[in-house]
């Protein structure tokens, strides 16, 4: 299996000016390392403030790491390459309803994505949009719809369409499954699993939902206050967590 993403000793500190000369620094991430292969799912769990979201932001290039390397298929990733590698890593936000522009039709929104990062001509773009919508179980007419016309589950599909239209290799889901209703969540999970099997997509799942993690994730990384506590195969970590905190977290979800 090819290694897709490799993260080495990633650190991030936020500095806050508290006075004229005094600063307070908050360590958000400290020496995080992990690898993610093609077609695998890595789940990152931890409480709020553990640095989960910071990690996601670093990976997509919203924030710059202080030190450490992000290697994508063996190549270093830098913020200046953002345009180049946003094909490869796509991000899905927590609330689909809030992350889509209410003024734009779905087709327009997907077209913008393609216009910004591909060299396709209008005809090809249209075809691509149609293919992507079909892949996600949406209809052609849906490209004429505005976000408010969709139900919650469909919106999540639209958000997925926006992420998948560039044929990425890695999808980062930041709590994207938490807010969904159980039956919808099952639908989306099935869709994600199917896509993974078909196209070898890798997922980075950031979540609080440990029961779901056990089902869909291959590897598990437990973060606590910016430090990686346990990292390994999901089943292994669930069975023999090394740190007290991860054990507590796992127990609270299972028993």
């Amino acid at each position: 299996m090819n290694t897709l993403l490799e993260v080495k000793d990633l650190c991030k500190t936020y500095r806050k000016q508290t006075g004229w000369f005094s600063q307070r620094s908050v360590i958000a991430l400290e020496n995080i390392s992990f690898t993610l292969s093609e077609g695998k799912t890595l789940a990152i769990v931890g409480e709020t403030g553990s640095g989960k979201s910071t990690l996601a932001k670093l990976l997509v290039g919203i924030e710059k790491p202080d030190s450490g390397d992000i290697l994508l298929a063996g190549q270093h990733v830098k913020i200046s390459h953002y345009r180049q590698y946003n094909h490869v890593i796509r991000f899905i936000f927590q609330d689909a309803a809030k992350s889509l522009n209410p003024h734009q039709k779905i087709g327009q929104m997907l077209d913008d994505v393609l216009r910004f990062s591909t060299v396709l001509d209008p005809q090809q773009r249209k075809l691509k949009i149609r293919q992507t919508l079909k892949q996600l179980g949406l209809l052609d007419e849906h490209s004429e719809y505005y976000p408010h016309m969709f139900s919650g589950g469909q919106l999540q599909r639209v958000a997925l369409a926006r992420a998948l239209i560039l044929d990425p290799k890695l999808l980062i889901l930041d709590e994207a499954l938490t807010a969904l209703d159980p039956s919808l969540r099952a639908q989306i999970v099935n869709l994600l699993l199917e896509l993974q099997q078909k196209s070898g997509l890798a997922y980075l799942l950031i979540t609080n939902h440990l029961r779901l993690v056990r089902h869909i994730a291959d590897d598990l990384l437990v973060l606590h206050q910016g430090k990686a506590l346990d990292y390994g195969n999901t089943a292994h970590v669930f069975a023999h967590a090394e740190h007290d905190y991860s054990r507590k977290l796992i127990n609270s979800a299972i028993t």
């Binding site: 159980p182 609080n208 999901t234 977290l249 299972i254």
Partner: protein, 331 residues
């Protein structure tokens, strides 16, 4: 004795296009000291039912019921003042999103002091303020906030969601209610805090005999802490009964799907295999299907399903389906 006994509760919304029935003839009963779970997806009307019980729905909603008894008194037929008095005395509710339900302009101490009714304070009047303060601190300790000094002086935005939720609970139990309604108490919380919170609610139930109505869309977390369960779909009650028996043997296809879609209840399920999911999505209120509202999504829907099924009873297990999954073949 039945604490709460609701029969055929119907809640309708007045719109320019006529009435929309958001909750359709739901029965709900609660014994003293019982914990009941109310499960349903968003839009299934569970919060509406809770709000109808505490009587905080605004005038746009029409609430009707054949019976709406609280300790033998029909709340809907009481004069307004008296209704407020009874509800204010006996029922407390924990709302969704605590940080939004708390007053952002007042410190926690003020808000908690306000929640304590006078008749619970003993002693002469000049000691009242002191007693009140002591009681507030006691309440905070009860809900598991140790550092009361810092919390009392803070404003809601300065506290984490979990602490806010605990304060909401402290406010709710301040008047020693007979019924505690918790509306999605854990949506915003992390799993460790969630477990803590459920244990807290369970301890009030056991120590004080407070009945708890736990509302949530997460079946798995509710199943662990409740004795009985009511499952709602789109404003219709699909199944009600004891939690253990429902989880073990659901009769309604919706409950069945709900249970099967949770990996936790499927110990034999291999990781990374597809989950069981009903096709389609929840209908919006403006376009509700007639008859059984699950109809269009139900795997074993037949012609009869355009008529609303009545609530059938099998021992202590209620369900409303023409073709229940009882195992035996009828029709």
């Amino acid at each position: 004795m039945l604490l709460l006994d609701i029969k055929n509760l119907t809640i309708e919304l007045k719109t320019p296009d006529g009435l929309i029935r958001a909750v359709d003839r739901v029965n709900l009963s609660l014994r003293e000291g019982e914990t009941r779970g109310l499960v349903g997806e968003s839009g299934s009307g569970k919060s509406l039912i809770a709000k109808a019980i505490v009587g905080v729905l605004n005038k746009r909603w029409l609430v009707n019921a054949d019976r709406f008894n609280w300790c033998g008194q029909d709340l809907l037929r009481l004069p307004y003042d008296q209704q407020r008095k009874v509800i204010g005395r006996d029922i407390a509710m924990i709302y969704q999103e605590p940080s939004r339900s708390l007053d952002p302009t007042a410190a926690i101490l003020e808000q908690l002091e306000e929640a304590i009714p006078d008749h619970l304070l003993e002693g002469p009047w000049w000691k009242r303020a002191y007693m009140r303060r002591r009681k507030v601190i006691g309440l905070l300790h009860k809900v598991g906030v140790r550092d009361h000094q810092a919390v009392l002086q803070s404003y809601p935005y300065q506290l984490s969601e979990g602490v806010c939720q605990k304060i909401m609970i402290a406010m709710a139990i301040a008047k020693a209610p007979k019924l505690l309604i918790a509306d999605e108490p854990t949506t915003a919380l992390e799993s460790t805090t969630q477990a803590q919170l459920f244990r807290l609610l369970a301890s009030f139930n056991q120590l004080k005999g407070t009945s708890v109505l736990l509302i949530s869309h997460e079946l798995e977390s509710i199943a662990r802490y409740t004795q009985s369960l009511s499952v709602l779909y789109c404003g219709q009650l699909v199944e009600a009964g004891e939690t253990a028996s429902i989880i073990k043997h659901p009769y309604h296809p919706y409950t069945h799907a709900l249970i099967k879609s949770v990996p936790e209840f499927q110990p034999n399920l291999q990781p990374k295999t597809p989950l069981y999911a009903l096709p389609g999505s929840i209908p919006v209120l403006q376009h509700l299907p007639i008859g059984c509202r699950l109809g269009p999504r139900c795997p074993n829907a037949r012609k009869e399903c355009v008529k609303t099924p009545t609530l059938e009873r099998l021992q202590n297990h209620y369900y409303s389906c023409h073709f229940p999954l009882t195992g035996k073949k009828d029709v």
